[in-house]
Symmetry: none
Subunit: 399 residues, 2 copies
């Protein structure tokens, strides 16, 4: 499908803005029977929906809850089932680690083992981040033959392990037995070419156990999600557009970088992001702008905070419309219903506005209303071709 | 999917009429916020929609604008991405050239080159068709060893080139560099078996250049879209129906012939087509009836003419219903919104009427209303199975 799109691309001067509200979709709360989107006062989004083609996006498949990686790949037009990105790589992107082609990345956890080496806590009592920082410092001093070793703290008990060197493979089994009372598993090569990497990682683990022996509860490590940077078709080449990403959070900058977008320097608030958008308006054809607050409130299970986050977002719509984009898209990477306090599988509202988006019966940007839209219920990776078409950037298929 | 359908077919005596309004779908004009379908007075289509299952068709994929070839293949139940037909073949079908299996067809343009052989006009100033006729006459006299050469004028600067002979391949590169100031490219074989065809075409081009040397602005040719007739499953065999096509325009007769329908002789108006339908009513199970006026008005960017074309079509509905079809289908091959003055990617309204089509909230045959129909937003090639089912011509799948 990406090859088809690539073959139909016409370059022109139209401008596209994709606004991604993280965790956009929600669920009604039982007291009112209304979802967050149905509760919030969203005059600007409602007006935009009334003038747009609306629908619902499914990012992976019906019933499948997307992580942030697959969710955004879907929005960018990549089928998340066809382009899988390992957890180690996503974790590295999440701290904006400068992962390079060939590097092997893994997600690490500090854990607690007893005198017999059996796991008693898979998260080491969720140690404070500053303890994590001191312990990863110890692990960094480990030396492995022929490769460069990097250990980066994340939050609490989490860290990222990266091996850099020629000829490594990330096809390695996990060490986390996912159960208490068992010993961590040794890493096994899942393909013949991964034997050396497996040996190196097992050496690292043995050495880490020695250096952490006195550091209980964080006296051992678990490693999973080994992977290398995938070779993804580059967004600017597939779509023939200069593409920029504006995101205050590192994970989303990392995902945009993964597909070859330029990541613009911006501040920590959405107002900063919109200022960055305005500032770089002439320099790009396509802007991916990320809004985090909706997901954060949903993950916290805070219905009212999510409603407030939606209303804050709504207030930015007029200034975004004033920029004069030819195509304006509003959607998200997955649902985060407050009543779940977690990512959900529910399809996510989407709207596409342009001069050519067509008539649509939808006049509210809610889960329920968007179900009647002319976009239908759409795999998320089919949205980008619709967006491109609305920008008159695709020629017809066949004579 | 076609194999599945074939395996489920039951033959019976029901009759199906598929009315295809070319370029049916449209877009609202800004003055009124209403599309062509929403502006037209369509009492008969509205009444039919109220009694039908309605929906929207996508012929290729979301955002992809279909050409007439893929659009009709979709309506006939063939996935247009799985069955691709080259431009040369479509161009030959468009003039009802009797293309045979093994023939290699290409779309030709007369163009202008300067003294150095560089292209200065890719369309030779759109020469008049009678000039084209005289020049193709010159090209026909070219002799190529071991193959028959046919050159057929189309409109203005366009012609069709056909090579007929044993063992030819159509896997050839194009000669049009798609830019001014460059020389036409030589044809290259895209597979080893195409070497001879490449040589023959290059000989033709050299000879054509000589014979056109004094014919500026049409002093050179460009060739593209080389292809051979594809092997398509035959519609009458897949669906177990005697199938007839009624179309005043050659392109649509050609497309119907491509899938093995009988093409009925008819006059130049839609009234003639309906008379032909009535006349052959007993002889077939399935009728594809094509209405061109909607597309023509849309391509001209003439909103009012498209509204009028829809209203004219509407007036034929009672006489078509009087024939007593068991299943009546109304849809189109693609959108041609007047505001685009070109084919569009927008999904196309569709209705399926039968005794068994089911209840549906839709009571107007418009883009907006059909979005809420029980057919949903459907890939066009999934419509034929629904149509067959409504004719009670498919048995159940599995016990």
């Amino acid at each position: 499908m990406l090859d088809l799109i690539r073959s139909l691309v016409i370059e022109n001067t139209t401008k596209i803005v994709l606004l991604s509200l993280d965790g956009l979709g929600g669920l009604p709360r039982s007291e009112t029977g209304r979802s967050e989107l149905e509760t919030a006062r969203l005059p600007n989004l409602s007006a935009l929906a009334a003038a747009s083609a609306c629908g619902l996006l499914r990012h992976v498949a019906p019933g499948i809850t997307p992580g942030s990686g697959p969710g955004h790949l879907g929005l960018f037009g990549y089928d998340p089932l066809g382009f899988q990105v390992g957890r180690g790589v996503l974790e590295a992107l999440g701290i904006e680690f400068d992962l390079r082609g060939g590097d092997v990345a893994a997600r690490g956890n500090f854990c607690t083992v007893d005198g017999a080496g059996l796991i008693t806590d898979r998260r080491a009592g969720r140690i404070a981040t500053d303890v994590n920082v001191r312990l990863t410092e110890r692990l960094r001093s480990i030396r492995l033959p022929g490769v460069e070793l990097m250990v980066e703290p994340v939050k609490e008990h989490r860290f990222v392990l990266v091996l850099r060197g020629a000829g490594l493979s990330g096809r390695l089994s996990e060490t986390d037995p996912q159960a208490l009372g068992k010993a961590p598993l040794p890493v096994r090569a899942l393909e013949p070419g991964a034997a050396r990497a497996a040996e190196l990682v097992n050496t690292f683990i043995a050495e880490a156990a020695r250096r952490l022996a006195d550091a209980a509860p964080a006296n051992m490590v678990l490693l999973r999600g080994f992977d290398q940077l995938p070779e993804l078709p580059r967004f600017p080449e597939v779509y023939g557009m200069r593409a920029a990403a504006i995101a205050a959070y590192p994970m989303y900058r990392g995902l945009a970088k993964l597909v070859g977008m330029d990541v613009l320097k911006t501040g920590g608030t959405f107002a900063d992001e919109i200022a960055t958008l305005r500032e770089h308006w002439q320099g790009y054809d396509f802007f991916f702008v990320h809004y985090k607050d909706t997901d954060k409130a949903g993950e916290d299970g805070d219905f009212d905070a999510k409603v407030a986050a939606l209303e804050r977002f709504d207030s930015f719509i007029p200034s975004i419309r004033d920029l004069g984009a030819d195509v304006l898209v509003v959607s998200g990477d997955h649902s985060t219903p407050s009543v779940l306090a977690a990512h959900g599988w529910q399809p996510v509202p989407a709207l596409v506005w342009s001069r050519y988006c067509g008539a649509d019966p939808v006049s509210a940007f809610t889960e329920r209303a968007c179900a009647a839209g002319t976009l239908g219920v759409l795999p998320a990776h089919h949205l980008m071709p619709v967006v491109m078409a609305n920008a008159l950037r695709l020629t017809k298929f066949g004579a």
